[in-house]
């Protein structure tokens, strides 16, 4: 029954206490949350943790959603923050895996045409600074424009542009290294 109801309306009625609306929202967006979390963390278990954390936190956070930004943008923002938090916790406790490196190795073993590219991508992501990685995920993988990415990461549009520029340079450098190796 909620298939055609917009995110904004669902969010509003969920905030007013409608459980069915809340559930519909979760069903609709869980996969996106998970995908972003997975790209961010590179680990299935972590992505699941992050996604669950985001879902439960929505209960209280929905009250502060006032429809100024697109619901999806707002949700991305929460997801990115949750992913960052977990990342930091792991980094602080010294448990940060070389998740990307593992993914890269996995991809390399596959015989598909794009395997080499994927392996290279993960290797590169692993070496990028957090801010660049976030930007890359949002802009390149999720297909956001700079304005949306800026809104999600709480930075200026120009910063995203700068980061993309920086990203390009760094990827280029990695590619050169790869070619020389």
């Amino acid at each position: 029954m909620y298939m055609n109801t917009g995110d904004q309306d669902l969010a509003k009625s969920a905030a007013r206490g409608d459980a069915a609306s809340f559930q519909a929202l979760l069903e609709r967006h869980y996969d996106t949350i998970y995908a972003v979390a997975f790209r961010y963390s590179g680990l299935r278990e972590d992505a699941e943790d992050i996604a669950q954390e985001v879902c439960t936190s929505l209960v209280t956070k929905l009250h502060s959603y006032r429809g100024q930004s697109q619901f999806k943008t707002w949700l991305y923002r929460i997801t990115v923050n949750a992913a960052r938090d977990l990342h930091r916790k792991k980094a602080a406790s010294g448990k940060l895996h070389q998740a990307y490196a593992e993914l890269s190795d996995l991809a390399r073993e596959e015989a598909t045409e794009s395997a080499g590219d994927i392996a290279w991508l993960y290797q590169s992501l692993d070496r990028l600074a957090e801010s660049l990685r976030e930007t890359a995920i949002l802009v390149l993988a999720e297909g956001m424009n700079h304005k949306q990415a800026a809104e999600i990461l709480d930075v200026k549009e120009s910063t995203i542009s700068w980061r993309m520029h920086e990203l390009k340079n760094q990827l280029k450098a990695f590619a050169t290294e790869e070619a020389q190796a």
Binding site: K168, L171, A175
Partner: protein, 695 residues
Amino acid sequence: MTEELERAKRAFAAQEPIRPKGDARRAAIAAAMTRFEQEEKGAAQGNSVRERLMESGGSVLAAFKRRRIMNIALPKRSHMLAGGVSLAALAFVAFNIGILQGPYRFSDPGVTPVANKPAKDDAATSLVDAVSGQSADIATEVSKLVQPEAAPAENEALQSAPARLTLQESVGARPKFKAESRIAPAQGVLAGRARESDGLAGVAPGDDRTQHIYQDQGRDKFVDITPNPVKLVSEAPVSTFSVDVDTASYAFVRSELNRGVLPQKDAVRVEEMINYFDYSYDVPADRAVPFNAELSIMPTPWNTETKLLRIGIKGYDLPKAEAPNANLVFLIDTSGSMNAPDKLPLLRNAFKLLVSGLKPDDTVAIVAYAGSAGTVLEPTRISEKAKILAALDQLSSGGSTAGAEGIRQAYQLAESVFDKDGVNRVILATDGDFNVGITDTEELKSFVERKRETGISLSVLGFGQGNYNDELMQTLAQNGNGNAAYIDTLNEARKTLVAEAGSTLFTIAKDVKLQLEFNPETVKEYRLIGYETRQLNREDFNNDKVDAGDIGAGHSVTALYELTPAGSGGGLVDDLRYKKTENTAPAELRNEYGFLKIRYKQPDSDTSELIEVPITTDAEVAEISQASKDTRFAASVAAFGQVLRGGRYTGAYSYDDIVALAQSGKGDDPYGYRGEFITLVQLANSGQALEPLKK
């Protein structure tokens, strides 16, 4: 889009679709639904969020009283909306941020109407940024800083109707807030005094002191200091230490006292307090011998039995035209903990001041670090000042602190435009709270040490209170051949970065060590006041490999020794019954108290040079009143520092005595620094019944 980005994009797309496992999905949704139902149940029982908002909105003052409860949520804006914080608390936070942060971000009256528009937070933020971007003029910035204007917050919670209403009321009630917000951080202590000091601020340099929002307290980290003990000349005739030109301790003590609390003892480094002030010692004529040593001896103000030896060193002052080009990298902490009016906004203005004082050919680069580090501005000439100022305006805070990564990047940038004839310096601005990456002090220290060899030095500007990591800052600055300053007000920024830019930036002598040998004929005991963290071994003096403090252009360094003359009854150590007294000093040296040796290296040299000066009775005066004003003032600062540290050697010497002595040595005081010191002593006097903040 370029080739590399296309490739990355293709690779992302080629990933097999990322699909969650069905059971994880179900579990997550089920957990969220359970939580949802619990919340709703609570709401049905009357804990409705909106009702709570109304209630609290009734009295903003009530919100202030309860501020302590939510300070946990304040430092990190991004976490304010985190799950654990109830919405009622959110409303409080909104008030705090709105009113207290307002003056710094929303000070232009033209922006105020935003309060009534339910604009989304990002729009509001960018509007403000646009406003501050237009006013690159620092003077305007300064006037904004001191002109409080209650204004809206960026918190979404504010946009609910009751909250908005209250905010409008608050605009009307502004003057009341001003007083209230000053008092609250001091936890009510010294409330009257704090207000009085506001009145005095009209003449004191603390004028543009920032208002404080409630923040972390008592988490400032300092190295433990044990005051130098009294030493017997017969047992240890030689005293060796490194110069220290840092002034951070004084500014920190000042900001604590201005908040109405006595600083913790280890925050008080007496030598840094003494060296905060400029003394009119003779300036050397040329660079060949880059400094003069000036000596004076007078009776100790706090002990009639002893004498106070003052050693004053003034560095050669570089005329601005002769100043080498500067290649500076600002390394700026933009982590969540910097999100306070006395941190990032102050820092921005401080750097603007510094930039305004540089030459067109100097270059500046900016690296910002929070969760990760990034180059905000590539090395840019001062001639493109607008670009630099715009980059500074863009800085915003949030996230944890990957300080080590930032340091690494900053050095890289400095190396990229290394100027072998110029000054190459990284200026780190932070509250010292590194919590991501290398957080080990030792590791950071050795990194900075290695980089020192390449000719790039590190200066540290400390900001903020409550979470200030002084220990780390000192370590970094001391090992990076730099200096550490603590910036608590814009005026302090002006002093450090503009008035004393020469001494902050241009080193004229490095590894400056002092060694005194006392004459047992004339001196029985001695005690070095301060410099506890700068002690060197006797043999280190002649070892050029041992690092010591640097002196910048125009820097003055003052060291005080308390001496107990031989034969005086005022000694603390009794004579030995079985000791054989030997007379070793030749008769012609009997008018000497001791012998001062100074070792230093020219900035570009690795071998040290030596200056030797005998300390003779010629420099002695019989009465305190005969001593120079500078000497008297330095003594009063030393007394104050020691009393703040517990007054182990100062006997019954009181704050009133200190004020009287400082008054007598105040002199011209063109910038009001000394006048401000006197105000501080008075503040401490009324606060002495208070316990210092416990850790």
